[in-house]
C-alpha cells in the first residue's frame, strides 16, 4: 500500500520513464513484425505512433500490455515489468473491436475500468461509482450514462472508452487509433480530452493516422517494423522521413526473412 501511495506522487527528476522498450523483437507466425525497437517515453508526454498498415503499431501496444509473447528485448513500464505495473496502464482499443450489441449501459462499460481494483470477487462500492460518475462528467457523457451502448455515435463510443481508461486511474494510457471513423469536429474534441489528460500528468501513447495534427504531440514515433525515427515532431516529421516511412520497397532484411521462411528461390 505504501509503495502504491508513493507511486501516485509526481515523477521525481531521474525517475523511471513511463515506458522503456529496449531491443524489442516480436513475431507473428514466425514472421518478425517488430525488430529491435528501442523507445523511451518520459512520464507526462503525449506521443504519436505513425506508420503504414502492417507496420506493427498495434503490435507494439499489445506487446507493451503483455498480450503477446516477445522474442527478444525488454519492456518496462514505470521501471517495472508489465505484470507489476498493470494497475498503472490503461488500454483504449479501437472502437470497432467491441461488441456494441452487448447488453450493457454506458455506465457499466466505464465501471469496468474499476474491475482490476476489484479483483475476481470484489463488488463495486460507492467510491467506484463516484469515480465512474466523475469520469463520465470529464468526457461529457453524463447525460448518456444509462443508455444502452448501441445508441452511441462513433465519437461517443470513443469518449466512453476514454472515460473507462480514466476510471482505471492509470498513469500510462495506450490508445489504438482513437480517431478512426470520427469526423473532424469529434476528432478535435477527443484530442482536446487527450490534451487535458496529458496536462494532468498522464502519459499518452497514441496510434494515429492523421499526419495533420502531429505537431500537437510532444513526440512522434515513426514505426515500420523498425523505428524509422523518434523525436519531437519539429525534428522528425519531414519529407525525407515520411518517404522512408511510407514509401519504397521492403527492406533487405524483410526479404531475407521471407526467403528463410519459404526456402531460397531455387528450392521453392
Amino acid at each position: 500500500m505504501a509503495a502504491e501511495a508513493s507511486l501516485r506522487q509526481p515523477p521525481r527528476l531521474g525517475a523511471a520513464p513511463a515506458l522503456e522498450v529496449a531491443g524489442l523483437t516480436v513475431s507473428y507466425r514466425q514472421q518478425p513484425v517488430l525488430r529491435h525497437v528501442d523507445v523511451a517515453v518520459p512520464e507526462g508526454q503525449l506521443v504519436a505512433i505513425i506508420g503504414p498498415n502492417g507496420a506493427g503499431k498495434s503490435t507494439l501496444l499489445k506487446a507493451v500490455l503483455g498480450l503477446l509473447p516477445i522474442d527478444a528485448g525488454e519492456i518496462r513500464v514505470l521501471g517495472r515489468p508489465i505484470a507489476q505495473a498493470r494497475q498503472h496502464v490503461a488500454y483504449v482499443p479501437q472502437t470497432d473491436s467491441a461488441d456494441w450489441d452487448f447488453p450493457i449501459t454506458v455506465r457499466e462499460v466505464v465501471l469496468m475500468g474499476r474491475y482490476r481494483a476489484l479483483g475476481y470477487f470484489g463488488r463495486p462500492r460507492a467510491a467506484d461509482h463516484a469515480r465512474v460518475a466523475a469520469a463520465l462528467e470529464t468526457v461529457g457523457m453524463t447525460a448518456y450514462a444509462d443508455r444502452h451502448i448501441r445508441q452511441l455515435s462513433g465519437g461517443q463510443q470513443q469518449r466512453v472508452f476514454l472515460a473507462r481508461a480514466l476510471a482505471q486511474e492509470a498513469r500510462v494510457l495506450l490508445l489504438d487509433e482513437p480517431f478512426a471513423g470520427v469526423d473532424a469536429r469529434t476528432e478535435a474534441a477527443i484530442f482536446e480530452l487527450m490534451d487535458r489528460f496529458s496536462q494532468a500528468g498522464q502519459t499518452l501513447i497514441v496510434v494515429n493516422h492523421n499526419l495533420q495534427i502531429l505537431d500537437r504531440f510532444d513526440a512522434v514515433l515513426m514505426l515500420n517494423r523498425v523505428v524509422v525515427a523518434y523525436g519531437p515532431p519539429a525534428e522528425v516529421v519531414h519529407a525525407d522521413n515520411l518517404r522512408r516511412l511510407y514509401g519504397g520497397r521492403m527492406s533487405f532484411v524483410d526479404e531475407a526473412e521471407r526467403a528463410l521462411q519459404e526456402g531460397p528461390a531455387d528450392v521453392r
Binding site: L65, L67, A83, Y91, A98, D99, P103, T105, Y115
Partner: protein, 432 residues
C-alpha cells in the same frame, strides 16, 4: 336432472379433468423437478454462451462428453461421481483440444470445433461397442434423453451441481461480464481469461451431464442457446438477461413435460419446441427489436412523413396558386390517394388543416408547421449543395432529410443562417 346433481357432475368433471392434466406431473414430480432445475441452469449458462458466441462450443462439449461417460461407465460402472468426473474430464479435454487445433493449424475455430467433437464422439461410440457383454449403455437415451428414467440419484447429483453453478456465476459475475464484453481489456487488467473460460467450460460440462437424462445431448444445446437468445431479444441488461433466460429455461422444461404427457410424446423434444415457440414470439413481439415493433414504427414514420408532405404541399399551393389546380393527389404522386385522405383526416383532427373543396386549407398552426418544413427542406438543399451533391439529387435527398427537422436549427447555425437556398428561394425564418 336436478341442479344439485348437475353441480356435482360438473365438480366431478372438474376433478377428473384436473387429474387427467396434472396427475402425470404429480406422479413424476421428481422427474419434473429435475428437468426444471436443469433447464434453468442451462438457461443461466446459456446467457454467457450466446453473448460469447460459443453456441458451437456448447454443442461440441455436449457431444464430446460421451467418451468420458463411457470410460467412467467401464471403470466404475454405475457411480454418479464417476460419470461426472469422466464427463468433466472429457469436457475440459475438448475445450483444450479446440484451442490447440486453432492455434497450431490453419483451421479457424469453427472447423477446429467440428474436428474435435466428432472425433471425441467417434471414440465414445467405438468404446460403447467394446463394453463387456451384459452391460447396457443406452446411446439413444444419451442422445435424446429420457426424463421418465430420472431417479433419486440424478436428483442428488443435480442438488450438488445447481448450487455450484449458481454460486460460481454470482461470485464471478463481474469478471465473467468483463470476459464476455471485452476479453482483451480483461487480460490487460491481469485477469486470467483462460482460467475464466475453463471455469465456464467446467460448469457447462457438469450441467450437460446433469441434463443428459432430461433432454439428451442434442436437445441440451437447444436448451442452452434458445432461452438465452430469447432473453437477449428482450433486454439490454446482462443481469436481467441471465434472470429471464434462467426462468425461461425452467418454464420451457416444465411446459414441455406437461405437453409431452398431454400428447403422449417424448418430453425432451417437447421442451425444445416450447423454448423455440417462445423464441419466435419474442422475435416477433419484442419491444424495439421485434419485427412487429419495427414494422409498426416504420408505418408510423411513413404516415408522419406523408402528413408533413401534405402540409408542405398546401403551403406551396398558397405560394403559387396555379399549382393547386392539379390537386393534392396529383402533386403527391406516387402516394396512395387513400393514404393522403387519411393523412388529411389526421391533420384536420390535430387542427392543422380545415377540410375544404377542392382542397383542404391550412390553419395558422398548420401554416407554421409547413413553414418549418419548407425551411428544413431549403436548409438541407443549401447544405447538400455545399457538400457537392449533384443538382439532380439535391431535391430528392432534401425531400427525405427534411423530416429530420430537429437538425434544421443546428444546420442553420452551421451554414451561417443563409437567407435563400441555391435556387434563390427564400428560406423562411423561424418566428420568436
Amino acid at each position: 336432472m336436478s341442479a344439485e346433481r348437475l353441480l356435482a357432475q360438473s365438480a366431478a368433471d372438474l376433478i377428473t379433468w384436473q387429474e387427467r392434466l396434472l396427475s402425470p406431473l404429480i406422479d413424476h414430480r421428481l422427474q419434473l423437478l429435475c428437468s426444471v432445475v436443469v433447464g434453468a441452469l442451462l438457461g443461466l449458462l446459456g446467457g454467457f454462451v450466446v453473448l460469447r458466441r460459443m453456441a458451437l462450443i456448447g454443442d461440441a462439449i455436449a457431444h464430446a462428453v460421451l467418451p468420458g461417460v463411457v470410460i467412467a461407465f467401464l471403470l466404475v460402472s454405475t457411480g454418479v461421481t464417476g460419470l461426472f468426473v469422466g464427463a468433466l474430464a472429457a469436457g475440459v479435454v475438448t475445450a483444450v483440444a479446440i484451442s490447440l487445433v486453432t492455434r497450431f493449424s490453419r483451421a479457424k475455430e469453427d472447423a477446429a470445433i467440428g474436428i474435435v467433437f466428432t472425433a471425441m464422439f467417434a471414440v465414445g461410440v467405438i468404446l460403447i461397442s467394446r463394453l463387456p457383454a451384459g452391460t447396457h449403455f443406452d446411446l439413444k437415451c444419451f442422445l435424446f434423453g429420457d426424463p421418465l428414467a430420472i431417479t433419486e440419484t440424478d436428483w442428488h447429483s443435480i442438488l450438488l451441481i445447481a448450487p455450484v453453478v449458481v454460486g460460481t456465476i454470482l461470485l464471478l459475475f463481474h469478471p465473467l461480464k468483463l470476459l464476455s464484453f471485452d476479453p482483451v481489456l480483461a487480460r490487460t487488467m491481469g485477469f486470467n481469461t483462460s482460467l475464466l473460460h475453463y471455469v465456464l467450460m467446467i460448469l457447462l460440462s457438469a450441467t450437460i451431464v446433469a441434463a443428459l437424462r432430461s433432454v439428451g445431448v442434442i436437445m441440451a444445446v437447444a436448451m442452452l442457446v434458445t432461452p438465452a437468445a430469447t432473453a437477449y431479444q428482450l433486454t439490454n441488461r446482462l443481469w436481467l438477461l441471465l434472470t429471464v433466460s434462467t426462468v425461461l429455461g425452467g418454464l420451457s422444461a416444465a411446459a414441455g413435460m406437461f405437453l409431452a404427457f398431454q400428447f403422449n410424446s417424448p418430453p425432451g423434444p417437447m421442451m425444445v419446441l416450447v423454448a423455440t415457440v417462445v423464441f419466435l414470439l419474442a422475435m416477433a413481439l419484442a419491444p424495439e427489436r421485434g419485427f412487429l415493433a419495427v414494422a409498426l414504427r416504420r408505418r408510423r414514420i411513413r404516415r408522419h412523413i406523408l402528413e408533413e408532405d401534405v402540409l408542405k404541399m398546401l403551403a406551396r399551393f398558397e405560394e403559387t396558386p396555379q399549382r393547386a389546380a392539379a390537386g393534392l393527389a396529383a402533386a403527391l404522386t406516387p402516394a396512395d390517394p387513400r393514404a393522403i385522405g387519411r393523412a388529411v383526416e389526421d391533420l384536420a383532427r390535430d387542427g392543422l388543416v380545415t377540410r375544404g373543396q377542392p382542397e383542404p386549407t391550412l390553419t395558422a398552426a398548420g401554416r407554421a408547421r409547413a413553414q418549418d418544413m419548407l425551411r428544413a427542406h431549403r436548409l438541407w438543399e443549401t447544405y447538400l449543395a455545399q457538400e457537392g451533391a449533384s443538382e439532380r439529387h439535391l431535391h430528392a435527398e432534401a425531400e427525405r432529410l427534411e423530416h429530420a427537422h430537429e437538425l434544421a436549427e443546428e444546420l442553420d447555425r452551421t451554414l451561417g443562417r443563409p437567407a435563400a437556398d441555391p435556387q434563390g428561394k427564400t428560406i423562411p425564418r423561424r418566428e420568436g
